[in-house]
């Protein structure tokens, strides 16, 4: 048998290596196998090279050999767990060795994940509203949109007979329930003396428990609220008024006049509900509200009306039948009220609108923000906005991870080379790096959980929510683990593909071009981070600017130093005026006024409007002006610091003032007076027909005695509409203007007077400027949340930048050393290092501006009165981003620039 010479064998070894056969055990075997085959061929008379070529062919040449190698490695590793263990060991060792970078990676990611988690909790809470109702997807609320007489209403309420008529005429409706809200009530048990103010009181139909899944704990849900003077109360209310005894069958007295019997006690309504009633009053019997509920007039829309549709009913189809309903029932009554040749078509042709729609129960919380809501609702815009912000922040955190991993690739390049030489194939390396990123992510998630736990109370405060981490729910853990894996995958994919692509030969020779090659991607990612940061900064500044604008805008009245005493009607029948006079005796009180109509919108302020027309014009649709009519006393204008621009204020010297009116400028404009408005007259209907509709034959007229400067009585989202002040009794509240002294003393003095005149009635007060502030709670929340997350975004972005600069400085240590030796100054080197990233931030600024401008413009469109967002805001945002970034980089740059060049250069 022919033996191959050692030269031949060396040749084969070299050739196999050249063809990529590196796995030692397999290589040995194959060598012997190939040698034996070649020997066999040579015995048959072939020359060595020919024989070798032929044998190689039988092995499938290079590609065949390689696939055998790959299959062998795979087959062997399939059963071996130790590689995973090895990956984890290496990952942990790496984290420990580069603890600075690991810290930034994990901390940045943890902050991002925490922000994301908080926002997710918030959104989950927001979208879970009203889901506790078993029939939720069959319940709808009837909304009305009415445009008439220069006013545009979006109402969540309908008229009293609507519910009943709909139920009769449309068989697809299974049941209806109405609510009539009259604000707060003073409540005491039948045998008690002290009144307590209850805010969540409503009048409703007995079908309430049939439609909403509110569990009745005591009493029969089928008969509760069916009898006149019966009420149902929540568990917490029952415990408040009847501790340690059953509330069923007991009585409560409301507003000192309604004695009502408890016929049911229900479970407290869940937090995630668009209403939280504590007391439900039956709308049957002969109490005024019950009578109002039995009215057949379609013209006043005061009842929140809910419809339960039968299974399988198409709500859209029912909605399409609403115009027909309006035509049949509402049309004739409007025609009667307005007289003349009224028809629905003409009404609409004149640019008016009467439109009924069905609002699904589950959409109410996020999509409905109209007149007559029980409580302020959420907003789908804010949900989207926050979701976007959450993704942005998570994105910034992930980018940090990618950038640091790829930037530091040269440190790992040798490891990759060695692993490849040792037989690791690319898919293993990808797996290894993905595993590493997942390990980092898991640490980050653990840290994030801790952060969320600590910061949730703070956020709850900010967003006025009661969010908790759902530790009890398995879904939460699955989601967290799933999210950790997903984030690990997203953050790890790019680095792992990038790192595993290194060519072992080049890497081991010390040629790492990776730093440069990935520079572009890295720069793009840094730009992206700062685009988002600058965008959020501009957003935060703009929201806060608008808020400040609202706070400082000239309102037409003076909101400071006014105390409002609520529920003055508790002083009835004759103590209201006495109370005012008594309080005025205190020298710090400058003036006082009795009126429930306040120039701020809150739970306590009253509003009512009626159609009026200028005397001398016809009472037709075209001439009607829908105007707020506020009943005030002679000290109103003075107390609130409004300005009379023409004519005079009300005065006790003019007994004729009982038929006088003071108009605001908007009303004067809408009436279109010919000649001097002072002394002109306006008319309105004063009587009603038997069915409650206005009687066209009875009219009342008012003389204009003064014009008050326009003042804001609604939010800045709305314009100032027509308003008239009338002399009249309205004892909803008494307001006092006081001198800027000891506020506490003022309160105590007023309270003393109150206690003596209204014993047993709760003393409730607020300050006008605070009530004014509450109108903008939503904006203030948005402003604070935005500022908070914008801050987080920039912190995370800067963390990344900090590490990147540190890394660059480290990599360029020798270059810096040489530059210094050759005479470069510290400032020159700092500039050199900062320039690279400074450029990126400038680019980011240019990209971010159009986006920010567009979004801010869109948000401000919702306001009639808005602040001008000048160039300064953008400049401030850009400069602050640059400044923060530069400070971040500055530290590292200066550290590098000041280091002793000898330390950097001695190594070689």
């Amino acid at each position: 048998m022919a033996q191959l010479t050692s030269q031949h064998i060396n040749f084969i070894i070299k050739d196999l290596h050249y063809r990529g056969l590196v796995y030692q055990p397999l290589q040995e075997e194959l060598l012997d196998h190939i040698c034996s085959s070649v020997e066999l061929k040579m015995e048959q008379g072939n020359k060595f090279l020919e024989a070798y070529q032929e044998v190689l062919k039988s092995f499938g040449n290079t590609s065949g050999l390689r696939s055998v190698q790959q299959l062998t490695i795979k087959a062997e590793n399939k059963n071996r767990k130790f590689m995973i263990k090895n990956y984890i060991t290496i990952a942990l060792r790496n984290l420990k060795k580069h603890s600075f970078y690991s810290f930034i990676n994990i901390a940045g990611l943890a902050i991002g994940v925490a922000a994301c988690l908080i926002i997710t909790l918030f959104i989950v809470d927001e979208i879970s509203y009203d889901k506790y109702n078993e029939k939720a997807n069959r319940i709808y609320r009837l909304h009305n949109e009415i445009k008439f007489g220069g006013n545009h209403y979006q109402l969540t309420t309908s008229s009293a007979p609507t519910a009943h008529t709909l139920l009769q005429d449309y068989p697809e409706i299974e049941a209806t329930v109405r609510f009539r809200n009259y604000g707060s009530y003073l409540v005491k048990p039948a045998n008690g003396t002290e009144n307590i103010k209850e805010n969540n009181v409503t009048w409703t139909d007995s079908t309430f428990f049939k439609i909403f899944s509110v569990k009745v704990l005591e009493g029969n849900p089928n008969t509760a609220l069916k009898e006149p003077a019966s009420i149902a109360i929540s568990k917490r209310t029952a415990q408040k008024y009847f501790p340690n005894e059953s509330a069923l069958g007991q009585s409560l007295i409301l507003d000192n006049k309604y004695n009502a019997k408890v016929t049911a006690v229900f479970e407290d309504i869940p937090t995630a509900s668009h209403f939280h009633f504590d007391i439900l009053i039956a709308m049957v019997g002969d109490w005024p509200v019950a009578k109002e509920a039995q009215s057949t007039v379609y013209l006043s829309n005061n009842f929140n009306t809910y419809l339960l549709l039968k299974e399988g009913t198409d709500a859209k189809a029912l909605e399409n039948k609403m115009p027909e309903f309006l035509e049949k029932y509402v049309g004739p009554q409007i025609a009667q009220a307005l007289g003349g040749d009224f028809t629905m078509e003409k009404f609409k042709e004149a640019g008016n609108l009467y439109h009924s729609t069905l609002m699904p129960l589950l959409d109410i919380h996020l999509y409905s923000d109209f007149k007559g809501e029980f409580e302020p609702n959420g907003s789908i815009t804010y949900v989207y906005l926050l979701a976007t912000v959450a993704l942005f922040i998570l994105g910034i955190a992930c980018i940090n991870f990618m950038n640091l991993s790829t930037a530091r690739s040269s440190n790992r390049a040798k490891e990759v080379g060695v692993r490849k030489v040792m037989g690791s194939i690319r898919s293993y390396l990808i797996r290894q790096f993905l595993l590493e990123s997942t390990v980092v992510t898991f640490f980050a998630f653990l840290l994030a959980l801790g952060l969320v736990y600590l910061s949730l109370p703070f956020f709850n405060d900010l967003a006025m929510k009661k969010l908790t981490i759902p530790f009890g729910e398995p879904v939460f853990y699955f989601t967290m683990i799933g999210a950790a894996l997903l984030v690990g995958l997203i953050a790890g994919t790019y680095p792992s593909f990038f790192l595993s692509a290194f060519k072992p030969v080049e890497v081991l020779k010390g040629k790492v071009s990776g730093g440069l090659k990935s520079g572009m991607v890295r720069s793009a990612l840094v730009v992206f981070q700062f685009v988002i940061s600058i965008f959020l900064i501009v957003g935060a500044i703009s929201v806060n600017r608008q808020l400040q604008f609202i706070q400082t805008k000239k309102l037409g009245f003076n909101k400071d130093q006014v105390i409002v005493i609520q529920d003055a009607y508790a002083l009835r029948p004759n103590n209201v005026e006495a109370f005012k006079q008594e309080v005025l005796k205190n020298s710090t009180i400058q003036s006082g006024t009795i009126s429930g109509y306040l120039p701020v919108e809150s739970g306590n302020s009253w509003r009512s409007d009626n159609p009026y027309w200028r005397e001398g014009s016809e009472s037709t649709t075209d001439n009607m002006v829908s105007m707020q009519n506020w009943k005030v006393d002679q000290d109103y204008v003075k107390t609130f610091g409004m300005t009379i621009v023409e004519g005079r204020d009300f005065s006790l010297d003019f007994p004729s003032d009982s038929s006088a009116v003071i108009l605001n400028e908007a009303a004067v404009e809408q009436f279109g007076f010919t000649g001097d408005p002072i002394g002109s007259k306006i008319n309105t209907f004063s009587g009603t027909l038997a069915d409650g509709a206005p009687d066209p034959s009875q009219m009342e007229s008012w003389t204009v005695v003064g014009i008050v400067e326009n003042f804001h009585f609604s939010t800045m989202r709305e314009g100032i509409t027509a308003l008239g002040l009338f002399r009249g009794k309205s004892d909803g509240s008494v307001s006092f203007r006081f001198a800027a002294q000891n506020t506490q003393e003022v309160i105590q003095s007023i309270e003393k007077t109150w206690k003596s005149l209204a014993p047993g009635q709760p003393f409730q007060y607020s300050f006008l400027d605070e009530d004014f502030g509450h109108m903008y709670d939503a904006e203030q929340r948005l402003g604070r949340i935005f500022t908070f997350f914008a801050g987080l975004a920039i912190i995370i972005a800067c963390l990344g930048l900090f590490a990147l600069t540190a890394f660059t400085a480290e990599q360029r240590a020798k270059e810096i050393g040489i530059r210094k030796v050759l005479g470069a100054s510290v400032s020159g080197i700092v500039l050199l290092l900062s320039k690279e990233f400074g450029k990126l931030i400038l680019i980011a600024f240019i990209i971010a501006i159009p986006f920010a401008w567009y979004s801010v413009d869109w948000w401000l469109k919702g306001y009639v009165y808005k602040v001008e967002i000048g160039v300064t805001v953008y400049v401030v945002a850009g400069v602050s981003a640059l400044l923060i970034a530069w400070l971040t980089m500055g530290y590292q740059s200066i550290k590098a620039a000041r280091s002793n060049p000898v330390d950097a250069l001695r190594g070689e």
């Binding site: 064998i9 055990p25 196998h33 092995f59 055998v68 059963n79 071996r80």
Partner: protein, 72 residues
């Protein structure tokens, strides 16, 4: 074609897999520059062979009865 194409090296992945599973053991003999590796079946492997062969016979039997093929 549709046939399985086997190269000469195709045996090695299988051998290495069986070795990793402990069903084969190896003995290496140095021959100058070359190393020759002898594979022998381990006792565990032997007992498994019987099982696997029986399983395989069973499988073929089932297949032949399903496919109505007469086996030799």
């Amino acid at each position: 074609m549709g046939r399985i194409l086997l190269t000469e090296g195709a045996l090695y992945p299988a051998l290495h897999k069986l070795e990793a599973e402990g069903l084969l053991q190896t003995e290496t003999v140095l021959m100058g520059k070359r190393v020759r590796k002898y594979y022998t079946i381990t006792p565990i492997g032997k007992s498994l062979v019987k099982e696997r062969v029986a399983e395989f016979r069973d499988f073929i039997k089932t297949m032949s009865s399903v496919l109505q093929v007469q086996m030799a």
